[in-house]
Amino acid sequence: MSAEPVQIETDVLVIGSGAAGMYAAIEAARAGCRVMLIDRSLIGRGGATVMAQMTVAVALGAEAPDHWSHHYQDTLTAGRGLCNEPLSRLLCEEGPACITEMDSWGVGWARKDGKITSTFAPGHDRPRCVYVDFLNTGPAVSKTLRSVVHKTPGIARTGDLCVVDLLKVDGEVAGAVAWHVGSGAPVTISAKATVVATGGLTRLYRRNSASANMGGDGYALCLRAGAPLIDMEFVQFFPIGHLAPRLIGMDPIMWDPFRYKLGGRLLNRDMEDFTDRYGVPEDGKYVITRDVGTYAILKEVESGRGSPHGGAYLSFQHVPAEKLREAFGPVIDRLAANGIDLTRMPVEVAPIAHYHMGGVAADVRMRTEVPGLLVAGEAVGGANGANRLSGNAITEALVFGREAGRTAAARVKTMKAVPPPDKAARATVDLIRSDPPKDMPNTAAMLTRLQATMSDDVGPLRTAARLNRALATIGELATAVGDRPFGDNGSFDMQRLDWFDLRNMLTVARAVTQAALLRTESRGAHQREDFPEMLPQWRANQAIRLHGQDLDIATAPASAVEVAAQ
């Protein structure tokens, strides 16, 4: 195979080009650093950011009075006692500055009478969510940041570079070793500061709203580099993911904006409202939070009152055609092309994996426990506790990205030289270009099996028996994956890509499952059918570290709830 790895040097390496990574790159470059922004996919297109369709939560107070402390209070309430409060506070307090800066960069937040307008979303005490019409929030955020990245001097950008391991020199992270998917070449990138902004893990599940790049790489990278993860058991399911009829060219979470604007009714097999049975009467308004919505739909299905494909009906039949068109114009035509006329029929919806509350443990400057290693965006754990409010994730990505860029720049100023890669890099380079084993089971089928196991046994409703069964399957898969990458290591070798993905996803799946097994209570997005109560002794966070092949889990009480400053 190819000879020596390509070696690159920079001040700040940013891994992942979603909102968090791009904001971090811009902020570090503005402070005078040389930045390298890399992504396993194309720049600005591979992650969740470009897919987001809905809203961004921020206490702007442009249309009606609001203050970050109200947003903070709502975030803590939704988090069910587990939020890392300094992180939640940072998100809420700095949100307005980032949203305003995005506005000055021309993102195009929807306006009414010249003022940025906000919509109401479940769990917020007032209309607080800004958006770009129609279903265009994520693409607009991504495009805006991409053009600022282009214009900011000092940022080199490269796609098709998949990070395989972080580079550690003398106990500090000093860059990363990546695999150039296009050619199969190993690439060593040395940096004074490294920001992991790789997004979430929802690809672990069969039905998800994710992209193919969201297998939780960053969590595995940080674990292997010695940084702990927290709250890994809290995977957010989005209750009303599209289920049936099958649709082409539309994201499964598309019904959320419909509910924001038009309410809509959630109905069971018998066309009855049912959310009141689970404590939240809706009456055609969208008020149910994600954890309760998921629980209500799955319980209704379990009781035999689900819709034909195993979910619930969502109906807009009571909304006049003109109103539908006014609110969603072109989207109504895309639905028609798929044979869906909302004035005549309900659609079927069911929970899908959507976002990860857990992640890498970090302080308010986005520093992990390992010097030189920073995190940003959905990769960070803790700001949203046991359940995230709608709209908080984009804000989190922007605010944490900006903060990580600042911290990276400050670290760069204190360092004279970029530490050169040592022997540790060698092992990953050798792994990347190693010959495949003789026996290579189908990697795509193994990924499918992992997703099935996670969905069936580590979904929103959990029991010890199912979690243990999942651990057994994860173990079998790990044995089949072995320690040598599959494929021919030619150009765009998808078997080898799957193999690197399995290496990460199996570790992350184990972290989620083991943490879920230990948490013997129900809280927010984690519901144990064998432990249905929320218990005061579990107002605690679980931190996970990797020791050899094993995951160690330690429990520490969550910080005390302080009353939000007025």
Binding site: P139, G159, S211, I248, N442, S491, D493, Q495
Partner: protein, 114 residues
């Protein structure tokens, strides 16, 4: 009702040395061509190279290829129960199978010739 879609797919690592391969995919209404290609990877040949990220959302714009001679996004082109011919974009540098170099030049990784 067991209809099939027959995908005739161009495979190869250089434009000069390519071949056509035919795969039968169980057809279900409401599937995309990308769904069909992903089915092949899981059920028959995981080495088939395709570029995609968002799968359904038509947001990433990664999955451009040629279907029956026309440029499409594989995730928005409907799979049909007939023979469909899938090839890499003819006007872009070939990477492998259905994958071409579509990133803007400033965002590509330049590797020296091996």
């Amino acid at each position: 009702m067991s209809e099939t879609a027959t995908l005739k797919i161009w495979r190869g690592q250089t434009k000069a040395q390519g071949r056509w391969e035919t795969h039968a995919v169980p057809f279900e209404r409401g599937q995309s061509v990308l769904d069909g290609l992903r089915w092949i990877r899981v059920n028959t040949d995981p080495s088939l190279a395709i570029r995609f990220s968002c799968i359904n959302a038509n947001a990433c714009k990664d999955c451009m290829m040629e279907l029956d001679g026309e440029t499409v996004y594989a995730c928005t082109a409907r799979l049909e129960p007939r023979e469909m011919q899938v090839a890499p974009l003819p006007n872009k540098k070939l990477v492998r199978d259905l994958v071409t170099e579509i990133a803007p030049p400033a965002e590509r990784f330049a590797v020296k010739e091996k």
